[in-house]
Symmetry: C2
Subunit: 458 residues, 2 copies
């Protein structure tokens, strides 16, 4: 029996397994679920052992993580690390769920439950594919190491401590992560780039206290007005960030990339309806998909100043603040961008207020070549699994662990998501599409021989 | 005995009376003080009757008010209405008071207690001056009507209902109000103009919900950025409001007014320290005193958008709002200014967000001639009372009742405040300076003959 036949034959059991997995309320953000989190980790380890993987449950500074390797790693074969997480988002608000979040329900070709697609179902597809090789006695042309952690939804703290101390254990030629999405079942996608981020908070301070706007208005700068004038200058009406040097390190999009991105399904009208704006707005000269994933942005995430209650209060507020995040694209460097933003803000800030800037977190953008042999092999695996040509995409968000794998393990990551846009990750009624589960398993089964070939040819 | 001798002789009793008056916790904003408010009104009525005034306690839609007239109004004499209020601001926060707010304490030449200067002490000075005439059998050359209300600190609701129904009862040639301040005991001041106000709230709405700034950033307008860009255009770096037509109705300051205003004590350095800003900022071409009182302003009183908690949240907020107040000067009209602001905001707002504007309260600016015979007589009374030449000032704030007296009674108001800048009105440790109390009584005693003369000559 081939691994693919094995996968076909065991579909119902895989669905039952996923139901079992989803029943663990492994909510990492909620201390009351700590026993459930540990029980879930134990179940993952047990499942890995049942398949025949060499499995260890590792304690970390936070929740335990599971490392499970295909038996007897062969140093002549390339090694791939499959990353996933068994922890899930909190299920609240409960009243918006049509069925209980930890009582999985299959309706048509969807399996509903918290964690079904984010991320239990997706890494289970990889485990099932490896099981298919081992159970049918088919030789795996690669070594596979599974790394399934329990704190992805709360910042990966335990893993970040674990990684530098276990580089040898986790050594690999590349990482495979299925923890993101595809536009549709007809557009299986390799995501080859992510945006980075820097977060800042700025605060303008004026008078030593809120002043009566009648008695003092007209003689002092209003910090809220100064903030508006300052931030308003950061982006022009063509959607360009005006900070000097901001675009200096932005890698130009190749014609190949633009062609590939243009193949992704998109309609301005339905996108506009999805986000609910009266009119789209973005950087002139780029498509919506390019704006969303290939271009850096300057966003205000929050504004706070003065009186926010009912009615009015006639004050000049003594301070005004803004929370900002800047999305970065390759090859922008967080430190360099923060320096440019600070310099520009300082140069524009009037002497009538005091400017305070605090740096928050930062993360580098990520890019791996979409034309590398491994990437091209992944595209073939997508087509073999889903029955439609593999597409190339970038993503606008960040997946910080990808940069850690690159810096700690020296390995690039292939992002091969299986979630659909309506899978409600992080929302009520999360689900996993069972067609994508099945196609994802087939993709995963095709992946290892294709990656092995590509690695040999490279 | 002359009225002035009488005032001298009874100083200690007047101080004791003010202490009695301050002991009433007549806090109109706090329902638990409702009995105290009524007891205080009764005391005012009793005090007026004791002096010999024809006194009525009137129920209103809110707290009672007292109308007390000098006996047998003579239709051949001019009539003046003295307005004051017996209600006080809440005393909180208690822990900042050096002594209990409703247990008056005399220290040196200051009497500490909530309401001491705002407004109990100030209208009591007028009552005492009239008492001096009546008790010494000195003929008052004018009719005086006292109107002491109990809701000034909560918007004068009761009085606003009472006024139109009692125009005859309150008919007068002019109103006298001592409920504001003077720069120092050496600068007794007639305030002849007040700024008006209009309040607005604007809200920009973008996406139908907060969007993930990674997944969507770059494709939709950020409402917080749009708000900053919109508001930032409302005022230039020379301190000028940029709304078309904004200054059309602003009355030019006469040379006489500018000369008079320049006589008021002022130091940019100490003013800057008072407000605590790194550098003053105001409309180019005007002094600080002129900016503060004679020029219209556009102020942001509050900004609200997106995430305001600790740390960062990577969202594009779905809306952003601002509370705005515009201070008006003669002859700007609230309705016309609101229309101009609405029109300008609409013309600048990009089509990528939805603009919502709600109007709040409005009040006309106030101006009475500083060169009229009555105003000049008031200046003489100030000099006679305080021993220093009377100064002319405008005020930057609004006193809405002044416009009501003009519209309902057809009477201008002479604003003859007695409070000093450090009297802490509305703040902990409110006090009244007893030198100003004494000088104020003398001013009030001089006022009636001087106003009578001026009225006859007019």
């Amino acid at each position: 029996m081939t691994p693919l036949d094995y996968l076909d034959k065991h579909q119902q059991r895989f669905i039952d397994d996923l139901c079992t997995y989803v029943r663990f309320p492994s909510v990492s953000a909620q201390p009351q679920h700590s026993p459930d989190v540990r029980a879930c980790a134990d179940w993952v380890a047990l499942r890995c052992r049942q398949i025949g993987l060499e499995t260890t449950l590792h304690q970390t500074s936070g929740n335990p993580l599971v490392v499970a390797k295909t038996p007897k790693h062969d140093p002549r074969k390339p090694t791939f690390l499959v990353y996933g997480h068994y922890d899930v988002q909190p299920p609240e608000p409960f009243d918006l769920w049509k069925s209980a979040p930890f009582e999985p329900r299959v309706e048509g070709r969807n399996l509903y439950g918290r964690g079904a697609s984010d991320n239990k179902g997706q890494h289970l597809a990889h485990l099932n594919a490896v099981e298919a090789f081992l159970a049918t006695g088919t030789e795996l042309p690669v070594n596979v190491t599974f790394l399934i952690e329990g704190e992805e939804e709360v910042g990966c703290g335990g893993l970040y401590g674990f990684l530098p101390k276990n580089k040898e254990l986790l050594a690999c030629d590349a990482v495979v992560i299925s923890d993101n999405g595809i536009p549709s079942l007809k557009h299986p996608t390799l995501t080859y780039a992510l945006r980075g981020i820097v977060a800042l908070e700025i605060r303008l301070e004026g008078p030593s206290r809120d002043l009566h706007s009648g008695l003092f208005g007209g003689t002092v700068e209003n910090p809220a007005m100064a903030l508006c004038q300052l931030l308003g200058k950061m982006r022009d009406r063509k959607g360009r960030v005006t900070i000097p040097g901001f675009y200096d390190d932005v890698q130009k999009l190749s014609r190949y990339e633009r062609q590939q991105l243009a193949k992704l399904p998109h309609s301005d009208t339905s996108y506009r309806r999805l986000v609910g704006v009266p009119q789209l707005f973005g950087e002139v000269g780029f498509t919506v998909e390019e704006q969303r994933t290939c271009r850096p942005t300057f966003e205000i995430n929050g504004l706070t100043s003065g009186y926010q209650g009912e009615g009015s209060k006639t004050i000049i507020p003594c301070w005004a603040s803004a929370k900002l995040t800047i999305r970065l694209v390759p090859d922008q460097k967080p430190a360099r961008i923060v320096a440019a933003v600070r310099k520009y803000l300082k140069s524009l800030c009037p002497p009538t207020v005091r400017l305070k800037i605090s740096d928050g977190h930062g993360g580098e953008p990520y890019l791996c070549s979409p034309t590398s042999p491994l990437a091209q092999a992944a595209l073939k695996a997508l087509e073999a699994g889903y029955g439609y040509p593999g597409a190339l995409a970038r993503e606008g968000g960040s997946i910080p662990i990808v940069n850690r794998f690159r810096s700690e393990l020296g390995a690039d990551t292939l992002l091969l998501g299986m979630a659909l846009p309506d899978d409600n990750a992080h929302s009520p009624n999360e689900k996993f599409n069972l067609d994508s589960f099945e196609s994802g398993m087939r993709m995963a089964a095709h992946l290892w021989p294709l990656l092995a070939q590509a690695h040999a040819a490279d």
